[in-house]
């Protein structure tokens, strides 16, 4: 899970391998806020699968690639 200079850099790096999913860094930052924001809270409890899926959906990551097991 890396940051790239642009989508062209992603394609070159893949070198023919099957691509995963590319999102903007703004979406990534928004996702990180929701996913990790409670990680150091004294009241932290493990997220359920449903909670995590809702976080992904909340930033627009709803397609099959982002479906948790």
């Amino acid at each position: 899970m890396n940051l790239f200079r642009s989508e062209e850099h992603v394609e070159r790096w893949l070198a023919g391998r099957e691509a995963g999913a590319t999102v903007t860094v703004a979406t990534l930052a928004e996702l990180a806020q929701a996913w990790w924001g409670d990680r150091l809270e004294p009241t932290w409890r493990p997220h359920t699968r449903e909670q995590n899926q809702a976080i992904l959906a909340g930033v627009g990551l709803t397609d099959e690639f982002w479906r948790l097991p």
């Binding site: 903007t24 860094v25 990790w36």
Partner: protein
């Protein structure tokens, strides 16, 4: 099965990881929480199995997500300290977890160009970059280190 004592150990481990800027060993953690190293390793193992942290082959910390115990491509500077992140997502996650502004230092795996992204109020100052996730969500924990 993770119980309340394991969560307490997990919270103490995370707090000390933040304070140190590196992963504490099981022996250091045992001293910190006034326990025995074997008890710490047992609690960490249950947390590992619950995907609450990730251990290495020796039973020491590899990841206290979003923090990494080992150097990576992703470094975060914030609040006068710095930490390694497991991936780009986790790098932003460190600022989110700490609730502070910071700077994410990383580089493009294609061209190697280094960049430093300032994060202010949770938003990056350079929105020209893109994030690529190679592994589908359904398979993240099959090999979380690779993911």
């Amino acid at each position: 099965m993770v119980d309340a004592a394991d969560v307490e150990l997990r919270n103490a481990t995370y707090a000390w990881f933040v304070e140190l800027g590196r992963a504490p060993s099981s022996a250091e953690t045992a001293e910190r929480v006034r326990s025995e190293p074997a008890a710490v390793r047992g609690g960490w193992r249950r947390l590992h199995e619950a995907h609450a942290l990730v251990l290495d082959d020796a039973g020491e910390l590899h990841m206290a997500n979003p923090f990494s115990a080992v150097p990576t491509r992703h470094r975060v500077r914030a609040a006068g300290r710095s930490w390694w992140a497991n991936c780009a997502w986790d790098a932003f996650g460190i600022c989110a977890a700490l609730h502070v502004d910071g700077c994410v230092e990383s580089s493009c795996p294609d061209c190697g160009e280094a960049f430093a992204v300032e994060v202010r109020d949770g938003r990056p100052d350079d929105e020209s970059l893109v994030f690529h996730c190679l592994v589908p969500a359904a398979r993240w924990w099959e090999d979380i280190v690779f993911t």
